[in-house]
Each structure stands twice: as C-alpha cells, then as structure tokens.
C-alpha cells in the first residue's frame, strides 16, 4: 500500500492506518535523528514528536512532495528543537582511544559499521552534521536537502566538504586501498 493510499485512509478517519507510515519510515527517521541529536533518548523523542506533528498536519500535506521528504523536514525541525533545548551541540566529548579506533577501522572493512563515526559526528558543527546525515543516511538530493534545511545548495555542498575534512582529521583516515 503506497504512502498516498495510507494517507487518504487516515484522512478518511482510519487513524490506525497511520501505523503503516510509522512502520515504513521509522527506521529511516531513526538513522537521521540518532545521528543529528547524538543519543537514542532524544532521538526517540524527536521522532515521536515528528510523527505526531505529521499526523496532526496530514490535512495540509500536498502530494507534490514525497511524504518521506515532508516527514524528514518535520523531523529535522524537531531535532533542532531538541538540540536547542539540551544544548548538546555545545557539549564536549572525550578524546577517542586510538587503540579502539584502530580496531574500528578493521571492523568497518568487514561489517560496514563504524562506531567511532557516531562519536565524532557529535563533534561536528550542527549544520555540517545535519547536512552529512541527510545526504548519506537518507540519500537526499541537494535540492531536497535545501527544501528541508532552508539552506542553499552551494552552502550545503560546502558544509559537506567541510564535514569530510573534519571527519578525516578526527578519524585519522587510513590510506585508500
């Protein structure tokens, strides 16, 4: 069942049908929110608030825009609200243990996971972190990212570029193979 059909059912009064949208989009929202706000608890709160706002505003949704992009815009706003409230963007983080880093680089080659990346993401400025997460965790185009963040495409490309420069430095990049 497509997002559009589910939305119509909800607007026709079947609130339970909204669970189809929750099931379909929750994991994607979690990928975004956890990386932007930096912890599971705040991410869960931001996601709940985003789905609730989307539900309440569903009558205003226009299907010229993908539902996923519309939801992401709401989610990013909720994440910003959470960040502003907790001031996590100004938080300091402990230095990484180099031995752990060495282990994680080996692990990423095998499994694609990179726990230290989650740690260093939080050290990025909020706008850079938001940009890199939207581009790579949600596969958004720069045009979609621009609509979601309110920033211009060139500014977003610059944020990504700067984010990569910082990440390379913080993760002590190993030579390409």
């Amino acid at each position: 069942m497509s997002d559009r059909v589910i939305i119509q059912r909800v607007l026709d009064g079947d609130a339970e049908a909204f669970s189809g949208l929750v099931d379909r989009h929750y994991a994607r929202c979690a990928r975004i929110a956890v990386r932007i706000v930096g912890n599971r608890e705040d991410a869960e709160e931001a996601i709940q608030d985003a789905f609730l706002r989307a539900f309440k505003a569903l009558g205003d949704y226009e299907d010229r825009e993908r539902f996923s992009a519309w939801l992401t815009r709401i989610l990013v706003n909720q994440c910003r609200t959470v960040l502003a409230r907790t001031k996590r963007r100004d938080a300091l983080f402990a230095e990484l243990d180099p031995r752990r880093l060495e282990f994680s680089v080996a692990a990423v080659l095998d499994e694609g996971t990179w726990p230290e990346l989650e740690d260093v993401l939080e050290r990025l400025p909020a706008d850079q972190r938001e940009a890199i997460v939207l581009k790579y965790a949600d596969d958004l185009t720069y045009e979609e990212m621009s609509r979601i963040t309110g920033a211009g495409e060139s500014a977003l490309k610059m944020r990504i570029q700067r984010a990569f420069a910082r990440l390379r430095a913080m993760l002590q990049e190993v030579p390409s193979v």
Partner: protein
C-alpha cells in the same frame, strides 16, 4: 569526491541504528497518535450525521444481533450505574497519559460478535466516523476489543458491525435517544475510583 573514505562514511551512515528496529518505540508513537485522534486530529471534513445516514434501525439491529456486551476496563465514573453483568473497572491509563496537557484516560471496550467480519466503534470522540476506530478480534474468541483515550466527561457511542449495522451497547450503564430517535450508549469517564 567518491573515495574510500567517503564510501565508508556513506555505508556507516546508511546502516540502521538499533532504535530503528525497536517495536516498543513504534508502539509509543501510535499511542500518541491514538490520543491525537481522540482529540479530533487530523482535521478533516466533517461527515454527515451517521444516524441520519444509517439505513438500518439500530434498535432492530441490536435485537437481531444478540451480541454480548461491552466491558469497560478503565476509568468509569463512580456514579455510572454498572451494567448487569460484565462491567468492571480497571485503571490502565493514567501513567500512559500523565505527560500530556489534557487529562485523558484509557478505556478498554469489549464487544462479542462471533459472526462479524469487522467491528468498529463510532462516537462523539471520533466524530461518529464508522471507519476511524476498529476493534481487534481476540484470537480464538468471539470477543472484539479496543482501547480508547478519552477526556473526562460523558461520551456517546455505538458499535458498527461489518460497516453497516449500528448497535448500541446493551451493557452500557445508560443509553439515550438522539434527535433522530436513534439510540446510543452513554459512558462516563472520570478519575479512577480506586
């Protein structure tokens, strides 16, 4: 810019996080959605009075259906007159809704309909929408149930069987007739008596 480092970043960020697979977290979302739905969200076109649209006589249906009762599992006003048989009161909602601005209480409603293909409840809490609030059939049982988040106060409702048959709750404490002469059930919701 697509080198080893970027590909690894992309792969790592695209990987799901544990929260994404957490069924409890998804259920928590739907609990808040149900509360919002009980408050009338999302705003949508108001439907015509279902009592006027119903092609069947509710009174006749209730007699023909021979269905069993409704059991209220939550906060029923102390002054609500208990039904003859199955009515009982169990608080299940206060902790769930305590963080919300408005006081809402969870009320579990039950309805026995062994031959029904689907059962829903319509009432003033969902704008008398016969599709908005379906009951779930308990496995291996003729019993259907649903949990509602309701504001304190008196609520009017009826069950809708198979999308067409409007059936008042014969186990409700009280019932009343609407302007059109249709009969609906009354439920008082307030702070738990315990």
């Amino acid at each position: 810019m697509s080198d080893w480092f970027e590909r690894r970043i992309a792969r790592a960020l695209h990987a799901n996080v544990p929260l994404g697979g957490d069924a409890r977290a998804r259920r928590a979302v739907m609990e808040r959605i149900r509360l919002a739905a009980a408050e009338g969200h999302p705003v949508r076109r108001r439907r015509a009075d279902p009592w006027r649209r119903s092609r069947n006589s509710i009174l006749g249906i209730s007699l023909a259906a021979g269905v069993g009762g409704i059991t209220t599992l939550s906060v029923v006003a102390p002054d609500a007159r208990p039904a003859a048989s199955a009515l009982s009161s169990v608080v299940i909602g206060d902790t769930v809704v305590s963080t919300l601005r408005d006081t809402l209480r969870l009320v579990r409603l039950m309805f026995d309909a062994p031959d029904a293909r689907r059962v829903a409840i319509a009432g003033d809490f969902n704008r008398w929408d016969a599709n908005a609030t379906p009951l779930t059939r308990e496995e291996g049982s003729p019993r259907w149930s649903v949990t509602l988040a309701l504001r304190d106060g008196e609520h009017r409702y009826a069950f809708v069987v198979d999308g067409t048959r409007w059936v008042p709750d014969r186990h409700a404490g009280r019932s009343a007739a609407g302007e059109t002469g249709r009969i609906y059930s009354l439920l008082n919701v307030s702070r738990a008596a315990n």
